[in-house]
Symmetry: C2
Subunit: 243 residues, 2 copies
């Protein structure tokens, strides 16, 4: 099976959560948006409903033969069993999907820090509001989400560096990506947070050492973080420097 990932070119964005699963499993896939200049046209034809009766609202979406799946969490739920990235069993798969949906919520909040008023407008036009939102995010929401995932790792009876019982899963890859992005966007705040989250730190180190992930991160396929994506580094939104 050759999987086709449809996502906007040149940025990691939400597509990266899917790429990491495909790369980690050594899956055969094509990243349509980055594969050729025609990628954007192909994506648009799906969104317009010309190429499918199931038009997604937005990328990323994945095609696997006759099946089309939209939304990161839905794609990963679909790929998980096929790529060996989630254990067997209905209860644990619903749990993994719920965790992934919590990552989805976390990522949406991270994005909205730099776009609190409108996604359609420039950061610079909403910078003052972004600063107020960043303060609230760093003070309240960041520790709440990190604390939750830390608790989940601590409660996992099977492991101290995995979220889901039974070992490594696609949710670990997504938490790795989220923490990597947060470290890029808010380096000072994350330096302060990480010592009190040893389970997350162990998970992130473990994922980065996985053979195919390490190879991927060192390859040209891994696009850089930038101020066009979800995780953006604007120094004025990070915690103030220590005094």
């Amino acid at each position: 099976m050759r999987y086709e990932l449809y996502y906007w070119p040149t940025i990691q964005g939400r597509g990266e959560f899917v790429r990491l699963a495909l790369e980690d499993a050594g899956a055969d896939y094509i990243d349509v948006g980055n594969a050729s200049d025609a990628g954007i046209t192909e994506i648009s034809e799906f969104l317009d409903g010309e190429s499918t009766l199931y038009p997604p609202f937005a990328p990323p979406f994945l095609r696997a033969g006759e099946i089309l799946v939209s939304h990161v969490a839905n794609i990963l739920q679909f790929l998980g069993p096929r790529l060996g990235l989630v254990p067997e069993g209905e209860a644990v798969r619903l749990w993994a999907h719920g965790l992934q949906l919590t990552v989805t919520d976390f990522v949406a909040e991270i994005h909205d820090v730099h776009h609190p008023i409108s996604s359609d407008d420039y950061y610079e036009a909403q910078r003052d509001t972004a600063q107020a939102r960043a303060e609230a995010f760093l003070e309240s929401r960041l520790p709440r989400f990190l604390g939750y995932f830390e608790q989940v790792i601590a409660q996992n009876p099977d492991s101290d560096d995995c979220l889901v019982e039974g070992g490594h899963s696609y949710v670990d890859l997504s938490l790795f990506q989220t923490v990597s992005g947060l470290r890029y966007a808010f380096p000072r705040a994350m330096e302060a947070e990480m010592p009190s989250h040893p389970g997350i730190a162990a998970l992130v180190s473990r994922v980065a050492r996985r053979e195919r992930i390490a190879a991927y991160l060192g390859s040209e396929r891994r696009l850089p973080f930038s101020e066009q994506g979800i995780f953006r580094h604007y120094a004025e939104l990070d915690s103030p420097p220590p005094t």
Copy 2:
């Protein structure tokens, strides 16, 4: 099977999307938060991980025997086949779940209109920003989401008042709730939008006429919309009156 729904008492909130599915199917369920004064304590014990190894990040969550499921879209995906609210088949179920996740995204944006800076702070403390966000939402995001769902209904080969092929599904119930909430929150804007979305209007009317839904909406179990929930009516956030 008696389903247990865990959600905060006194408000519709995100729990309402689950209630509508359970009510429409005539399922045996208990609304734990509203059932007794002990409801909040029971919810908290799940969130703290005292009652489960799978602690949800937040309500709503559902218990069905040994299974615990968090997040509206995950709960509905779980209930859909059991309650006869989604057709058979992997491809169409992934499509229904993707549509539901688009409803999730839409609902999150609707909520953030009145809380653009922080969910932890009062509306009154972020009213000016809320007005800027409401303008952007009504001008750009509301028509984009409604236009998308209208397109999906129009493309459905089986029906002109259902989202998913094969007929009525849990996604229709969620779109009904979303449009009902939008009409409560933004009556002027929705009066202007609805004439150009005849498929959505037909779907909403059809759902409201379903026997068990009509009975539920007329019962005391249907909590009122209010300024404590997702859909809040603040006149200053709606479109200006016609001049």
